[in-house]
């Protein structure tokens, strides 16, 4: 007779990861409180300790007339202050948590209202593309901004290759879902995977790019490697990172932040100083590393001359 030995630890005793994580946070809060009593040192990690240096994998690029002449932020600031919830919700976490992420091999699935459905290797997507330096202003919905020297190519190039049909009114993009590699996805902070979308004319606009690099080098993991969207006239959360799927659809998709809090985040998310976030004013911004919210935020993040025409006849209050 086969007598089954029970496993050393019954599965019921193994702490669920969620419970484990929240227990850890609880302990951290208690510990923080205890620390105050003891007057021990602040536990926050020093940002400098985890700054990756430029890694030296260079890309062949050419300059673009669409770049701003404003001075870009430093490599270390751009790569240590990231809203990339897949690698942690605090902005300094992705730099540490994405360090061992391997964005290769990488494929992008194309589906929906288009003639060329299928799966492309990243190499196929990049084949024949001339990479450009696009130095763009980047305005986060949280009220801070940077100037970032992206490397990329127009999204319109890829869209054309996919041959969308006349029913393709919008394009949606999806981030990789892989909690093993993206530890932030192990907690239900957002409804994973992250989804974003653009109206077709926004997607075809020459300012809209797919970025694969930063400062002339291959895109660091924490910035959305290997392939991310950049739409400089919209709040940063529209610029979805680590894209694995592109789908052409006829109806306006529900993007992740709108799904999470539709009273605070919309679909269009155009930078608009006249429309407050419910919790803070968008009239001014902090150009990092500035301490002060003194810089006037411009409509469409200063790209109004190029893009305001896309929204003629629409209520500007609805465009946040």
């Amino acid at each position: 007779m086969l007598i089954k030995r029970p496993a050393d630890i019954p599965s019921s005793e193994i702490t669920d990861e969620m419970v484990y994580l929240s227990r850890r946070r609880f302990i951290q809060a208690v510990a923080g409180t205890a620390l105050a009593t003891a007057g021990a040192l602040v536990s926050e990690t020093d940002v400098h300790a985890q700054q990756p240096a430029p890694h030296g994998r260079k890309l062949a690029t050419r300059p673009s007339p669409l770049s701003t002449t404003e001075a870009p932020n430093s490599w270390s600031h751009i790569t240590t202050y990231n809203n990339f919830y897949e690698f942690g919700t605090s902005l300094h976490e992705p730099a540490a948590n994405a360090r061992d992420f391997k964005p290769e091999p990488w494929t992008i699935t194309v589906e929906g209202e288009c003639a060329r459905k299928g799966t492309l290797n990243l190499e196929d997507v990049l084949k024949g593309e001339t990479l450009e330096d696009r130095i763009y202003r980047h305005r986060c919905v949280e009220g801070w901004s940077m100037v970032i020297p992206w490397v990329g190519f127009p999204l319109s190039r890829l869209v054309k290759k996919c041959e969308p049909t006349s029913r393709a009114n919008f394009v949606t993009m999806t981030t990789l879902y892989d909690p093993m590699r993206m530890p932030g996805q192990r907690a239900p902070v957002l409804a994973w995977p992250y989804v974003e979308g653009l109206r077709m004319d926004e997607a075809m606009h020459p300012l809209t790019i797919l970025a694969v690099g930063l400062y002339g080098e291959v895109l660091p993991n924490q910035n959305g490697a290997p392939l991310r969207l950049v739409v400089p006239w919209k709040y940063g959360f529209k610029s979805i990172k680590s894209i694995v799927k592109i789908a052409f659809v006829d109806k306006e998709p529900i993007n992740s932040w709108k799904r999470a809090a539709s009273n605070e985040y919309g679909f269009y998310a155009n930078v608009n100083p006249a429309v407050d976030h419910p919790r803070w004013s968008q009239a001014t911004e902090r150009r990092l590393p500035s301490l002060f919210k003194t810089m006037k935020t411009l409509p469409f993040n200063g790209y109004g001359d190029q893009v305001a025409g896309l929204y003629v006849g629409m209520d500007p209050k609805k465009l946040y």
Partner: protein
Amino acid sequence: MTRNQTIRCVLKPIVFLAALVPALLLGRRLVTGSLGADPLAEITNGTGLWALRFLAVTLAITPLRRLSGWNDLIRFRRMIGLFAFFYSSLHLGVFVIADRFASLGFPTPVSWETIRELAASIATEVYKRPYIAVGFTSWSIMFALALTSTTGMIRRLGGRRWQALHRLVYVGAMAGVVHYWWSVKADVRDPRAYAVVVTGLLAFRIVVWTHKHAASHTPALGRRAITTESRDAG
């Protein structure tokens, strides 16, 4: 050295200096430029979190005292409570200067008109944003308690009234946690942890009061012992 002297001349200065350490460290990181890309966010979060932590420690003194029997702990409560006020004032001050005053463009020279404009801008934010309103409530309570924290004020108000007033710290702590909860975008795990801590500390009071209430219905011996013990339950 008597126990009294040890507390007054050794332990209190140590606690005082220790409580300043987070502020000094933040200041040093600011001066050396090692706060990263967004120094303001670090300072805002840091001062806010330490305000909450000191509030929690203040609330922990009574339970710790009762559970450990170390009654001298009470002698540190005012100082720690004042440090909660100190950190929350830094937190508010940073918002007033770096957010509100900065958005006016740092007008100089500072005239009465400027101050009026700044006050209006702060009031608008408090009125328009619930999370700022609760945060401001928490700070206002701490401000009132700090003003009335002196021995002279205790005497002037009388112990009973003073204690009733200072029970507002429970509201202040809850408002602080709500402020933190409402300020995050999506990830409420950290605020939740603080909520659990503060709820636990308040629950302790409820348990004590319930016992006290129950005891007041039981005659004679037990009643006397419990009431004298729990008079300073605040």
